[in-house]
Amino acid sequence: MTAAPLIEVEDLRIDLDNGASHVAAVEGVSFRIDRGETFGLVGESGCGKSITALALIGLLRRPLSVAAGAIRFEGREIQGLSAAAQRALRGDRIAMIFQEPMTALNPVSPVGRQIAEMFVLHKGKSWREANQLAVEALANVRVPAPERRVKDYPHQLSGGMRQRVMIAIALACDPDLLIADEPTTALDVTVQAEIIELMRNLCAERGTAILMISHDLGLVANVCRRVGVMYAGRIVEERGSDDIFRACAHPYTQGLVDSLPRLGSRAALGRSRLREIAGVVPAIADFPSGCRFNPRCAQATEICRTTAPETTWLGAGGLVRCHHHA
């Protein structure tokens, strides 16, 4: 069966409207995620990853708005749905976990109640049933002694435990898509690895698709089958995770790859010795004309400054946007 993909984004454009100025923060972004698939969005801070994710769940708010393009969930245009229908999707079919496990939980509510609320809200369960299901949900994310932990308040739990609770909440209703926006940046490295592993295993067991967002190309490539590299509001390269290290096509991706620590070299060299991409991401209002990467690109030529590069299709479903791609 070649059914519609789980989620399909086509030519998405997100405008930032500050009254006086009116600029596209995200432009021409397209990607699709099939059922149970894992897709990653990578890019430096401010390139538009989070607002793209918010657009997917219909939660962009002033001054940001979807200006053009389509976002289809199981073939249905999300923006065509009523507010209530969108709300019913959120948390039930499409769930999301965030960077900050410290602040994403309500400090005055026991964690069990916050998990149970999902069953009451989306599955119409009674509180008694929901509390029972909350204990199971905590057990599923490998929290020890879940029947006691449900009564704990967030401040009684460590960062890693709180992120587990967040995952339990997100996966409570068995969603089809889990959006993980920088889910582990606030945690230390060992806990980070545990949490990622847990999330990956749980989603694989249940056939939940993942959209993972991060500035860490290594992390994303490790978790996801395919990766989209974003720069200044555009996807500049989309590849299978294996191809991206072997033969990336875009100079920006190459820069990201070069800035990753090589295995085992980290301790010797330290972060400061890694090769970084020179320059900074331009602010939305000052996006350069032509290819937006041209001021920072070593390969840039005249055409890069005047004309935005078209999409070039590579083998195996990959694509790149660069005049002089490898």
Partner: protein, 273 residues
């Protein structure tokens, strides 16, 4: 959570007033209204008449004890009404913003510009004296501080991760307000409510003293003061004991409110840290 000494003293005073109000019929010696006996008129305080008697020979102690019922009922009920109004308006205004916020802000500023006692006086003048009018007048005129606090709390809580997260998880507006916003602002609301209750007890006394609240012969502390006005030199006990009751109750509520502020209001806590 650690309560300071003043909060404990305040709490004890308020609890005592509640206790007296609840058990007034058992604590009182005589009926506060019908227990008149001209044989005992204007007795000074003694072992038999603890707080003395008035010109009709009614036992002041029994009247003060029964007065606690009325004064506390007015204080508690009217402040509850104020809190509900203030929280509802402030929370929705802060959450939704836009024209509704403008309307609520306008109303709040209006309420703050008119002294609430004057406003209550005007309402009493229209509704006439009595307990119900008192509850309405005092319940509708003192919600502006609660409203301000609720609105300000909402504005700062709205950007918190867990409120954003709730939206992402499919919570509706009402559910977000009830589960994410309200529980995180109860501290300051309780503080304002406790202080406001003291204010309402005073306001009841003032209105009754002016003859607009509880009318004689029913014993509220304010109406007793009003009756005692002419005998303040000849029979000072008629004024002293109801006055003391008002003083101790309001003092208790203020001490309690200030003490609760120290433990419940995170803003004042962080200011000190």
């Amino acid at each position: 959570m650690k309560l300071g000494t003043s909060a404990i003293i305040g709490g004890v005073l308020f609890a005592l007033a509640i206790f007296v109000g609840l058990f007034a019929p058992w604590l009182a010696h005589t009926d506060p209204v019908m227990g008149a006996n001209l044989m005992n008129a204007e007795e000074p305080p003694s072992w038999i008449w603890w707080f003395g008697t008035d010109a009709q020979g009614r036992d002041i102690y029994s009247r003060v004890v029964h007065g606690a019922r009325i004064s506390l009922t007015v204080g508690i009920v009217s402040q509850l009404v104020n809190s509900v109004i203030g929280v509802t308006l402030g929370l929705t205004a802060g959450y939704w913003g836009g024209w509704w916020d403008d309307v609520v802000n306008g109303l709040t500023n209006l309420m703050l510009a008119i002294p609430s006692l004057i406003f209550a006086l005007a309402i009493m003048a229209v509704l006439g004296p009595g307990l119900t009018s008192l509850l309405i007048a005092l319940g509708l005129t003192n919600w502006s501080f609660t409203c301000r606090i609720a609105r300000a709390s909402t504005l700062s809580l709205k950007s918190q991760g867990y409120v954003q997260a709730a939206r992402v998880l499919g919570y509706g507006d009402l559910r977000i307000m009830i589960t994410q916003l309200l529980p995180n602002m109860v501290g300051p609301i309780i503080v304002i409510g406790t202080l406001g209750m003291g204010g309402a007890v005073l306001a009841e006394a003032s209105l009754s003293f002016l003859g607009l609240g509880i009318r004689p012969p029913y014993p509220s502390w304010g109406s007793m003061l009003s009756e005692a006005r002419d005998q303040i030199t000849t029979a000072p006990w008629l004024s002293v004991f109801p006055g003391l009751a008002i003083f101790l109750t309001v003092l208790g509520l203020n001490l309690l409110g200030d003490g609760l502020r120290d433990v419940l209001d995170p803003q004042s806590r962080s200011r000190r840290a």
